[in-house]
Structures are given as structure tokens and as C-alpha cells.
Assembly symmetry: C2
Homo-oligomer: 494 residues x 2
């Protein structure tokens, strides 16, 4: 892959001086167009060998463009808040909103490549990490993010010369650290490892651009032009409206009435007395688990989904009653805020991923995409179709980071829902709980039921299975939630 | 202050059981009213002696109310991201938005009181920290935050008994840590120190409520009722519209034409050639300073203010060109986002306070409050009047945390502004820079000039003085900014 980046590309200074002013003006104009009609975000990844001008190029872009709308994040050692969360959390944190350009320097490629080159990771683990990256980048692309990946390359001979030159000049020797020399000693290995990384992750939606780093004029012009072309092209597309395209076949039709919901017996018996005894027992168990010494190194993410009036709020209160208020946050999910709308869909959930030793309870969740957004047509079919895989990937990352992910579908029958709606309308202090929206959603019951069945089929995974909860009897539902939750945490702590 | 909290208050269980259901229903209803018409946020501070039921009360509130709209933050050892910023940063981070109730447990009172009780802080430092708190809470109150402060108290005799009882029961002994006993040994000292803290910070806008913690029924009912009364009262006021009241006299009239701006000679000579030489020199100096080993323990916050077309953007680019892009962020300030509007005014600037070793450049800033918001009437006179003191306090906290705060006013004459506006209209690639707003603002020049002079008079402090920059000649302006900035950083690193 590096062949054409070892040919000694060179631009003479005169031509460079002639071309740069127009390039800068065009880059600035593109940047302002992007800012004034924020249709998409631009993410620029800067990677490659040491000494190939990565830092200089980032600085140059800041000089050429308007630094007010260009955000660079350099990732070094993670902070403790970052270490206690999934690996990708700190990159999600740094994603630029629509209308902005973000440069990520030392990004999601850095550790996988270095860990493999240093022999810390085996080949299989390396491939798995690359596959993860690929899925992440595909999601970004689908969300409309324009992703530009630059790999700065130097031939071995040239890199050595460059490091020597930098070291010998007192003005530049600070740029060369002992780490740089250590990396150089591993040049061949690093080259082989990065070549594989580039092969695996040069995709149709986010190809790598390999930049020969030897000649400053050449590499600057190449990066500047590539950036300008990409942004201009996308601005033009955005003018015509950008839509994700659905290429997969539609979901299969239902040919009978049997599905995961229709098989449930929703009205499970439980008396008030039995409920109170069981409540005490399972809240006690959950409380003990939350104070277990091993729990400090784990964490729990709980999702509550269900039709309106299925009893989500009441169940959540029974769970939190067993916990120390200092240990949990409840996140009610409603319409996204302005800041959230300017970022990829899952961003607003990533921002609530807990540190170790904590519980986060989502009252509705990322599943909104494949439920309300699908049914009400708030997003394209292509968007909710891809959401299944994206969600599975998200949850898998949570689980790998040591979090227990528990998802409850509170299943209430249409008759019981009606009864609860009417009760709410008649009880003064429950009045606020019922809105015209609830009645409207109720009319779409069959469409919602279909979406729920698809959701369960497609996102009940080995690492994060759905727990279906028969919810016509609230007592039964609450106890089943508490019991299942306790059992799943207990298993995880073993 | 603790007298009436050592009388052995008690509520019998029967009366408690009778009163709680109505209290819970009323609290829930108040909570939903608050959520549905988010006019203000509620902040509840929980402090006091160990073993007096602080944690239990927090848990009880979560049980009584809807945990979805109640957010508890417990502050322990700061994370490294928190340690590298001013002390108050982590509390700003945790403030609830309008419509929500936030419980802060282990808050801004904890360290000052513990540090004084342990003898780490002298009396003067303790008083200074309390004064800081007082200013912060006054700001919260003025921003419409409903602040409730509960101090849980136990008599010495009772506290001893309680700790012993908890320790002897295997089910509760985990609640008592060695730290609790160590604190108990210092009971008298702690009592004296906290009494002083409570005296100093029991203000008209945020009085302390002292809660005798001995009897669970008594303390729960007291806290629940106090919370309900406060929220209901404020909801009623909010229905009638809440306005800050201006009690200070208006600013004095101008009786002559002499002011800090009129004394400047705006068109300072500098040739292009001299500029280029000086640019290289001062960018070099600034770059060296940014790589100085001591700089890693410091940081810089730079504010750029000026009339439209004063040259802020161009000057910022000359500063950033001297820096490594990994080391700085530029924050352009426009209208606040939805999330920002739901929090106290300064929140959106606190969120950009840098970690150590970084630069943050604000293109317009918190001074918007006393400039555009004052002149255009976007806020009440009472709000911009108090902003001077709040801003000074904010900047002082930045400086105390080791940050260098540099504020530039780029002063351009009305004639030069007109020339630049016309040039912008005639130059194709500068066209986007001129909007009808610019022309409208220009008509209000005298009002803006008055606001600027007041701003300079009232916020040029010893720790963060304004630097007035004659800006009719861009060359001069840029060099003055670079030179002053370098000199101020140099002085700070000495």
C-alpha cells in the first residue's frame, strides 16, 4: 500500500507559493459554507509514522483555515474518567457537531496499531479491534459525517535521516523523543502492522489517503487539496439533500400470528401480600450486590422499554429504592436537545455511560430509533435498519468494558393499557400522566407491536439479551425485574 | 446555632404514617409541575455530622419523588480532570438544568470545613473560602436557582450512641468507617468550625435549615416539608413571572467626554515590513513560552472583545499560528444553546475552562452580558449590574487555579469600521462577514461605547486587567496582542 508514497514526491517552492493562496481562500470559503448551513460534520484523522510531519500539517491547517471552527483533539494517556469507561468513550466525547471540522490526532487507530506492533496483542485481537473500528466508522459515515483519514508515511531510509536532522538542530531537537527512536527500531514491524490496518479499514465510505511525508510542500498541498475536494463535493451533495440509502431488502413479512410477544401470558398471578414479601427479599438482595466489593470494579446499565402505561416509572422506582442515591442516575429519554441533534444518534447515550461502581437506568433509550422513530417515520428506513447492528455494537462495547447490560421490555396488553389510561384520567394526581399523544400512539398499536418484535429478534444478543416482562399485573412485573436484575449482577460478579 | 437541634425532636410513628402519603403526593405533583414548566432549578445541599441520616434522607427523597427527575451527585476524591481545574469546576459540572432537582452530597462546604477542622487551613483562609461560597450562592440565587441547604446535626452524646449502635449490628456496621470515628474524636472542633460556616453562609437568599438527625421520622418529615414548601412557594411566584430586582443605584452619568476609550490614539503607525519582523519575533517568543517546562503546570485563558470588524478573527489567527494545534482550543461565542440556556449564565464558559498546559481563546466571551445583552436589552438591568462582580469572581478563580487570564479590547474607530464594512461588501470572499446585524449594531455605537467604558472600569482587576489595543492599524494591534500576551505569560512562569 505504501509503494507510491516512497517515490520521493516533491513540489517546488515556487509552484507551492503560487498555489497556496487560492487553496487557502477556497478552504476558508468551504469552512464558512459548512458553518453557515451545518448539514454535516467533518472528522479528520491524522496518523502515520513519527517525523513525517503530522503535527506540522495539523498546525498548518489551523493556520490556513479559521481556527474558531476547527477543533483539534490530541489523545495521550487517558484520564481516569476515560479509563473507567469503554475505550471509544473518549472519542465520542470529542466528535465535532455538524458545521464544524474536528481533527483527531492520536485516535482510535493509535493503540490497536501500537499494541500489535509491540506484541501486546495477538493477530486475532488486532483483527477484532480493526473490525470494531470499521463498524464505528461505517456508523459515522451513515450518520453523514465526512471522514477523512490521512496516513503519513516515510520510507525507512528517509525516516532515519529526518530523525537525525531534527535531533542535531538545537531548535528542533525537542521534537524527537526517545519514544521516536524506540519506534524507529521497530520500523519494519510497524510498517507491516500498519499496512494490515490500512488494508482492513480502507473502505468505500472512509478510504485512507497515504501521504508521503518527506517533502513539506508536497504533503501540505496534498492534504489541503484532498480536504478541499472532499468538503466541496459534500457541500454540493448537501445542497441537493443527503439521504442514507437503504440497500438491504426490507424486513420479511409476518406470515402467521406467532411472535415473541403473542406467546406471553401477560396477566401473571401475584397477590399484594406475596408481592410485599418478594419485594423486600429482592430489594435486599440487590442492595447487598450493589455493596459487594467486586461491584466497585463493574457497573450496570439498565434499559426500560414498554408501551405507554406499561409501568416503567413505577418499576424504576422499585429498583432505585434498593440502591444508594449516590450510586445511580436515572436518565429519562425524551426528544433530543439541539446539541444532541448535531451529533451522531448514539452520542446522547454515550454521554451517560457510567463510571465504575455505578448504575444508570434509562427510562426509554436508544431503542427509540427502532420503535417510535420507525413507526412515526421520524427517520428513514435505512437509518432504523442499520440501527440494529449499531445498537448491538454499542452494547457489546459496554459489556466488554465490564458493565452489565440489562434490557427490560414491559409487555402490557391493549386492554390493560386502556384500563390504566382511563384510571389516569379519573385520578387527579395521575392526570398529568396522560396526554393526547398517548391516545394517538394507542391507535398505532399493531405497528408498534411489529416494531417491538423486530427489535427483540434483532437485538437480543448473547451479551445483552432482552428480558420480556409480563406486565398486566404490576406486582409480577416489578418482582420479575428485580429478580432478573439481581441474578444477572450476581452472575457477573462471580 | 444548634441549640434547637439538640432538644430531642421526635415524631411518633403513627403521626408519621398518617402524614407521609399526602406529603409524597404533594412532592410528586410539585416535581411534575416544575418539570413541565421549567422556570427554575432546585439545588439541595446535604451536609452535617456523620451518622445523622444524611445518606438515608437522600435515599428517602429518591423513594418519595420521581427518581427520573432527581439527580444526585456525590463528590469524593476529585478525578484528575477535576484536579487540573479550579475547585468549583466540578460543582458547575453537576448543576441541574431548569426543571430538575439536583442533590449535591459532599459539596462546596465539605472541603473548607474539613480542612479547617483538621487544622490544614488557618482562620483567614477559611473565612476567604466561605466568602467565596457566599458569592457563588448569591449568583445562583440571582440566576433563579432555588437553593436549599440542610445541615444534619446530632448532639455529641447522641452521635456517640448512634455510631456504637450501627457498629454493633452486622447489618449496619458497614455504614460506619474508621473515618467516622476519627471525625467523632474531633466533635467539638468540628462543631465550632461548622457553626462558624453556618453563621457566615446563612444568608437571606440561601439560609441553612438545621435538622436534628436523631429521630428518623422527625428529620424525614422536616426535610420533606421544607422542600415542598420551598418548591410550592417558588412555583407560585414563577406563575407570576420571576424577575431579579435591581436594588443598587444606576451607574453614574457621564459628565464629560473623557473616558478610557476616548483617550486612545487608535491609528498607531506600523509599516508592513516592521510588522513582519515583529510578528516573527513575538510568535517565536510565544511558541517558546508554550513549550517551557513550567508551562505544563499552568494554562492560559484569552478573551477577545471588540466592535464588529475590529480584527478579532485575524488577531486570533496570528496568536494560534504560534501555537501547536494540540495545545489550544478557540471557542467562538454566539447565542447560547438550549442546554446552556437552562443553566446559570456562566455555565457555558465554565465548561470550556482548560486543563493544565493548554490555551483557550474566547472569540467574544462572558462579557456579552455587559455589552450586547445590556445594550440590546436581552437581560434585565439587575442582571448585567451583578455580572461585573460575578465575572470578576469567575476570573479570580481561574487565576487562583494557576491560569493566566488575558483580556483584549480591540478598539477601532467608527470611521475605520465603516471603511472595513465597505471593503467587506466589495470583496467577494469577505462578503459572508458582513450582515444586516452589523449595520444595525453600528447605529448603536454610542450605547456600545458607554457599555465598553463601564466594562473596563468595573472589570479591569489586579488579577485580570484589560489590555486596550489601538486597532485602526491591524499590524499594530496584532503585534501589541502578541507582545502583551507573551510578556504576561513570561511573568507568570517566573
Amino acid at each position: 500500500m505504501f509503494e507510491s508514497a516512497e517515490l520521493g514526491h516533491k513540489i517546488d517552492k515556487k509552484r507551492y507559493a503560487e498555489e497556496v493562496p487560492a487553496l487557502r481562500a477556497a478552504l476558508l470559503e468551504a469552512q464558512y459554507q459548512l458553518k453557515d448551513a451545518p448539514n454535516f460534520a467533518v472528522v479528520i484523522l491524522i496518523n502515520g509514522v513519527d517525523g513525517a510531519g503530522k503535527g506540522e500539517t495539523v498546525n498548518l491547517l489551523h493556520e490556513w483555515m479559521d481556527p474558531r471552527y476547527l477543533i483539534t483533539h490530541a489523545f495521550g494517556t487517558p484520564s481516569d474518567e476515560e479509563r473507567e469507561r469503554p475505550e471509544m468513550w473518549r472519542f465520542w466525547r470529542a466528535l465535532p457537531p455538524k458545521g464544524r471540522i474536528g481533527i483527531l490526532f492520536g485516535n482510535w487507530y493509535t493503540d490497536p496499531i501500537l499494541d500489535r506492533a509491540a506484541g501486546k496483542d495477538g493477530r486475532a485481537r488486532f483483527e477484532a479491534r480493526l473490525a470494531d473500528i470499521d463498524r464505528f466508522e461505517e456508523m459515522l459515515a451513515q450518520e453523514g459525517v465526512l471522514l477523512l483519514k490521512f496516513w503519513f508515511h516515510l520510507s525507512k531510509r528517509f525516516q532515519k535521516k529526518r530523525l537525525q536532522t531534527l535531533s542535531s538542530d538545537p531548535d528542533t531537537c525537542w521534537r524527537v523523543t526517545p519514544t521516536d527512536w524506540a519506534h524507529f527500531a521497530q520500523y519494519d514491524r510497524f510498517r507491516k502492522v500498519s499496512e494490515l490496518a490500512l488494508e482492513r479499514t480502507s473502505t468505500g465510505y472512509a478510504p485512507w489517503t497515504i501521504v508521503e511525508g518527506a517533502d513539506p510542500e508536497y504533503r501540505s498541498l496534498l492534504v489541503g487539496r484532498a480536504l478541499l475536494d472532499a468538503v466541496s463535493h459534500r457541500l454540493e451533495l448537501a445542497g441537493r439533500g443527503f439521504h442514507s440509502r437503504q440497500t438491504a431488502a426490507p424486513l420479511p413479512p409476518r406470515v402467521d400470528q406467532i411472535n415473541s410477544l403473542s406467546q406471553l401470558v401477560l396477566d401473571q398471578p401475584m397477590t399484594e401480600k406475596a408481592y410485599e414479601r418478594a419485594l423486600e427479599r429482592w430489594q435486599g438482595t440487590l442492595n447487598l450486590l450493589s455493596r459487594h466489593e467486586k461491584f466497585a470494579g463493574r457497573g450496570v446499565v439498565i434499559v426500560f422499554e414498554g408501551m405507554d402505561a406499561a409501568g416503567k416509572g413505577g418499576t424504576i422506582r422499585r429498583v432505585t429504592a434498593a440502591l444508594d442515591a449516590r450510586q445511580y442516575h436515572v436518565v429519562p429519554i425524551a426528544a433530543p436537545t439541539e446539541e444532541e441533534r448535531a451529533l451522531p444518534y448514539l452520542w446522547r447515550f454515550w454521554r451517560h455511560v457510567p463510571r465504575r461502581g455505578r448504575f444508570v437506568l434509562f427510562d426509554r433509550s436508544w431503542y427509540g430509533r427502532v420503535l417510535v422513530e420507525r413507526v412515526e417515520g421520524y427517520c428513514q428506513a435505512a437509518d432504523w435498519m442499520r440501527a440494529y447492528a449499531e445498537i448491538n455494537h454499542f452494547e457489546e462495547q459496554l459489556v466488554r468494558a465490564g458493565l452489565v447490560v440489562v434490557k427490560f421490555w414491559l409487555s402490557v396488553s391493549a386492554d390493560e393499557q386502556l384500563r390504566r389510561f382511563q384510571e389516569r384520567e379519573q385520578t387527579s394526581f395521575k392526570h398529568f400522566k396522560i396526554t393526547p399523544d398517548d391516545w394517538r400512539n394507542r391507535e398505532r398499536w399493531p405497528a408498534y407491536a411489529e416494531a417491538v418484535c423486530d427489535m427483540i429478534d434483532r437485538t437480543s444478543t448473547t451479551h445483552a439479551p432482552w428480558v420480556l416482562v409480563e406486565a398486566d399485573n404490576k406486582y409480577h412485573a416489578r418482582i420479575k425485574v428485580l429478580r432478573t436484575l439481581s441474578q444477572m449482577i450476581e452472575r457477573a460478579l462471580k
